[in-house]
Symmetry: none
Subunit: 358 residues, 2 copies
Amino acid sequence: MLASSAILRRQQFLIRSLGGYSNQTHAERMQATKVVAGTHFEADAETILRTITPKLDSSRHKGQAGKIAIIGGCREYTGAPYFAAISALKIGADLSHVFCTKDAATVIKSYSPEIIVHPILEESYSIKEDEKRSISAKVLAEVSKWMERFDCLVVGPGLGRDPFLLDCVSEIMKLARKSQIPIVIDGDGLFLVTNNLDLVSGYRLAVLTPNVNEYKRLVQKVLNCEVSDEGVTEELLSLARRIGGTTILRKGKSDLVSDGETVNTVSTFGSPRRCGGQGDILSGSVAVFSSWARQQTPSAEEESSGSTPNPMVLGCIAASALLRKAASVAFENKKRGTLTTDIIECLGKSLEDICPAN
Amino acid sequence: MLASSAILRRQQFLIRSLGGYSNQTHAERMQATKVVAGTHFEADAETILRTITPKLDSSRHKGQAGKIAIIGGCREYTGAPYFAAISALKIGADLSHVFCTKDAATVIKSYSPEIIVHPILEESYSIKEDEKRSISAKVLAEVSKWMERFDCLVVGPGLGRDPFLLDCVSEIMKLARKSQIPIVIDGDGLFLVTNNLDLVSGYRLAVLTPNVNEYKRLVQKVLNCEVSDEGVTEELLSLARRIGGTTILRKGKSDLVSDGETVNTVSTFGSPRRCGGQGDILSGSVAVFSSWARQQTPSAEEESSGSTPNPMVLGCIAASALLRKAASVAFENKKRGTLTTDIIECLGKSLEDICPAN
């Protein structure tokens, strides 16, 4: 039996508190809560997005709408961290930082003057064995100066797999966790985490965003079995539970989101183009939306019952919905020629369509 | 006598299986197959393009629509590999990599965050004589890590002629051939191959895309004579046969494509502008279209007769048709000011006109 009464209560609160199902019949509500009996349900993603997106208010000051940092960008990869960082800004974050290697920094800076780029990470090829300790300490000291200012880290876009660099990033993640800074983990960050589950195990402010292959490796490692086409929901619930309540956004034809308690699906049609980089838009967006969801004040009802919806789950649902909408708008214009930059250009308009600024 | 019954049968299959001549009269069909008596025929290039372009399917995942790698880009040249790589993406490939020198990498990365750039090649000026062996081994090891992931390599755009770099590229080509990865060869890659015919000799997954001068040097080297204005078809057939079934796309007012068995012409009007870089669009496009053509399942008729159309030939025909269309659309807008980037911007729309995504 997967369900417990606490889970059922929490699931129902998630639905009610977000208003998406307020006019539901009893039958519909039962359908919506089927997760507890083994199936997932379609989230009312656009309502969730509208609910968590903060009102624009001229009395607010720089930074209050979100300060995001991407940990990624190395000799080989520079596009991915840029996509994540610029997407965060295009959605409405105030500041977007990238912490990357020196090689990557100049290039990422050249993509856009909007992004603050810190050239502080190092790969093995550029340092000597006896320098590793001091360099690692220096990297950590530099990041820690900034850490408290961030609302969320995104670890992984264009990170690469250099062992020394990944060691440093492990330390950065421990530091973020100690400071209770949420972490969205994608790409090579998932490679790191899959081999070092302790980095996220039991951390409810972490989100993993695996694609088909990354999910497969996670299941093999954590559940010690192969991915099954049957019982998709139970598998995802088990995975999230086994990791200890970390939120998992399983990307695919439909995106599935679970923190081990609920399973939500976002399956509105996006685009059939699978050009590289769309995952980076998603990770940057999850960072922003989950930060916004964390800023929400729980309702009295939620407070009294202790069933506040998980902001990381809400952030995933909203980000998935927005990316799908932006991808569909971009595809409408550019068809087979649609690239990730085209989708990024549609983020603002798509957000406005779902959640008008005025 | 150039013809054989096998060639004639294969030629007719190429025509029938692609449907372009289904309503032909007997006289027209005889005209179309005149290749076997010494002339080429106009390919129904747009039908071929439509036939090989895969349907967009939302259940597919990243990489399935094509992963292309360009080997090129040195201290002098950075535009050419960018043009080839971005064209592949704009046509519909999912991932586009460039393997180039360190000097070139930063610049190519900065052109677009969509391209994954590997700064691994070296030119003689940057290394010492006694390092050459170890550096060559390192370059090869790095490329070989990636090789199996690619659907096609493009060797040559902006490669330059540094002897050490060309030696490394020869080894990369041998590796690709061993792994049965198709290779499109243009620009300085043709300089390399003309002087080292063994690199492609007998390799049916190679395509050479020579312009007037490159073709001249090939004919001199392989056929040991000067290019003739008479018997153009026979010359091209002989050249492709002598190299051993490698496909040759002879660029010109009309593009001629032959693998030694058929000769197809694409002569729809493109643009009178001859700005540098159009050949790079073509090489990137041939890589994508031929990869798509290779994914096609042969029809039962083709299977039973053993006369499957050569995917490298189909890829050349489709790429030539698309470039010509995009160039004509760009010229319509920009006239004398038309540049290669303008043509690249028209690839998506031109593809959509020929082969609608929906």
